[in-house]
């Protein structure tokens, strides 16, 4: 099989199915399969489960570039769009569950929440940022936007940061898990920063000391 064929018939379908696994597990819990359930507060459970899945897949999306560089897999970038679109879909589903099941379509309450509650404000902002990225994810839009496409899609970093802040701020007290996400995100973004700095200023014996603090 050629690389094209492998991606088309093996890797992409596998990633597609893998991205659906969290949803399938949730539904199976909903039906009480395998002795699992959604617990006494299924709305909250579902909301958190889907939200966390969105964040997880967004992290995986950001992992594609480092893997591509470090593992030397130039073609792995081909699964990035699918991951990004899954992250967006789960984020949108998370938001939908919030307004339909949690807020019961109380739109005035919703607007107040977005304006007044910082964790909702940042979560909503992250979702809004992802919308143009999803819309411009087609090949056609990539061609049309040219160089600007990449500039636009760097906004995914902001969405990821806001997503992690959203998680951190909604936790009552035990912030260990949000901090793990923050740490992973710091590594993913730090990798890009370091690479950029190294590219911009090739390390020589004199300029090496200038970039060193950034790399630690």
């Amino acid at each position: 099989m050629t690389v094209d064929q492998r991606y088309r018939w093996v890797y992409k379908p596998v990633v597609f199915v893998a991205c659906l696994v969290p949803l399938v597990l949730l539904v199976s819990r909903g039906f009480g399969l395998f002795g699992q359930s959604l617990g006494p507060d299924p709305i909250k459970f579902t909301l958190h489960w889907i939200g966390k899945t969105a964040l997880n897949i967004l992290m995986l999306t950001l992992l594609v570039t480092p893997v591509r560089h470090l593992a030397g897999w130039p073609h792995v970038v081909r699964i990035r769009r699918m991951l990004g679109l899954f992250a967006f879909s789960y984020a949108l589903l998370h938001f939908t569950i919030y307004i339909v099941l949690d807020q019961e379509l109380d739109f005035t309450g919703l607007l107040k929440d977005i304006a007044k509650r910082p964790y909702i404000t940042v979560g909503f902002a992250a979702l809004v940022i992802l919308i143009p990225l999803a819309i411009t994810s087609t090949n056609k839009m990539m061609r049309r936007l040219g160089r600007r496409w990449q500039t636009l899609h760097r906004w995914v970093y902001a969405a990821a940061i806001l997503g992690v802040v959203h998680y951190y701020w909604q936790v009552k007290r035990d912030v260990r898990e949000p901090l793990i996400y923050a740490g992973i995100l710091a590594i993913l973004l730090g990798y890009r920063l370091v690479r950029r700095l190294r590219k911009a200023k090739p390390i020589t014996s004199t300029s090496g000391s200038a970039t060193a603090p950034e790399r630690t």
């Binding site: 039906f31 009480g32 399969l33 395998f34 002795g35 617990g39 006494p40 507060d41 299924p42 709305i43 909250k44 579902t46 099941l101 019961e104 309450g109 107040k112 929440d113 509650r117 910082p118 964790y119 701020w169 909604q170 009552k172 007290r173 035990d174 260990r176």
Partner: protein
């Protein structure tokens, strides 16, 4: 309490747990016969000690209580972990025998008492109370216990005693959640003396007619139904009468979010979420949020305790 007797749910209307579970087992068995995938039957409950009690209809609300399963499977008891399902999973080996309670501070009767000594003179009664968590969910629970005031009186607090403080056991070996400084252990809660003497404040030793499961704060806990759930300390080992306001666990952790009073109040939002409504646990996906009531519906009884106080300041 003034509630119309015609709409009142009598305690006798509550499904006793043994009937409840046998019914669920029958349903589960029927499902298992039809579909292999649904063959998950309820795990048999360990036979808990049945307690003798009378029913206090006067102090019971006319709302349907939550199931035993929800009450004992969805808990905030950070000593056993921060997930709602952690306490049930991690508290099963918790030893509540022997148990003793130390009484100290501004009281004439002080010392360390066995749990048996603490409980001996008190007749148990069942009260069906609303339970409102600060996280905006709620339950209705048939607690078993006795008035806190009756216990307090036995220690003869002095005129200097303005507050009473309740301390939860500190034992990281048994309580895995205490291995992390999520809160400043041991968990401390407290009430003003007049709050403690209010007939609604209750020392609890059981639920649904049987001894309190470990995850619900066995063997002895507090229930203050007009306050958010975190005010009701669990697995209490110390009662202190103090002149100064106790430094309570959540208030120390995040003073701008959790006050000393923590009265249920729809008019005062938590800084990060609204307190206007609550979701009653047990309604599944169709659970509608209901309006949160001032003092959790106990305003007629307790609002006078806070007359003249700015409740947005003393939240």
């Amino acid at each position: 309490m003034t509630r119309s007797p015609s709409t009142k749910v009598l305690p006798s209307d509550i499904t006793p747990p043994e009937v409840f579970f046998s019914r669920r087992q029958a349903i589960a068995a029927a499902l298992a016969a039809g579909a292999v995938g649904f063959a998950h039957a309820e795990e048999p409950q360990p036979a808990a000690a049945k307690l003798k009690y009378s029913r206090n209809a006067q102090y019971s609300v006319n709302e349907a209580p939550n199931s035993f399963e929800d009450i004992t499977g969805y808990n905030n008891f950070y000593e056993f972990g921060t997930d709602k399902s952690d306490p049930k999973a991690n508290a099963q080996e918790f030893r509540t025998k022997p148990w003793s309670v130390t009484v100290e501070g501004e009281a004439e009767v002080k010392g360390t008492f066995t749990l048996e000594d603490i409980l001996k003179p008190h007749a148990l009664e069942e009260r069906i109370y609303r339970f409102r968590c600060v996280e905006a969910w709620s339950m209705v629970v048939p607690w078993l216990g006795f008035p806190l005031a009756d216990l307090v009186k036995r220690f003869k607090p002095t005129s200097k005693a303005r507050y009473v403080q309740f301390t939860t056991l500190n034992d990281p070996k048994q309580m895995p959640g205490q291995r992390y400084q999520i809160l400043n252990w041991p968990y401390v809660e407290g009430l003003r003396m007049d709050e403690a003497m209010h007939p609604l404040a209750m020392m609890v030793v059981g639920v649904y007619g049987q001894a309190l499961p470990n995850q619900n704060g066995a063997p002895l806990r507090l229930i203050v139904p007009w306050k958010y759930g975190f005010k009701s300390g669990k697995s209490i080992v110390k009662i202190s009468f103090t002149e100064r306001q106790p430094r309570t666990a959540w208030n120390v952790a995040t003073p701008n979010e959790y006050g000393f009073y923590a009265n249920v109040n729809p008019a005062v939002d938590h800084p990060r979420w609204s307190q206007k409504k609550e979701r009653r646990i047990g309604g599944g996906f169709l659970a509608k949020r209901i309006d949160t009531l001032p003092f959790n519906g106990y305003a007629d009884e307790v609002a006078s305790l806070y007359k003249g106080m700015d409740l947005t300041k003393f939240f």
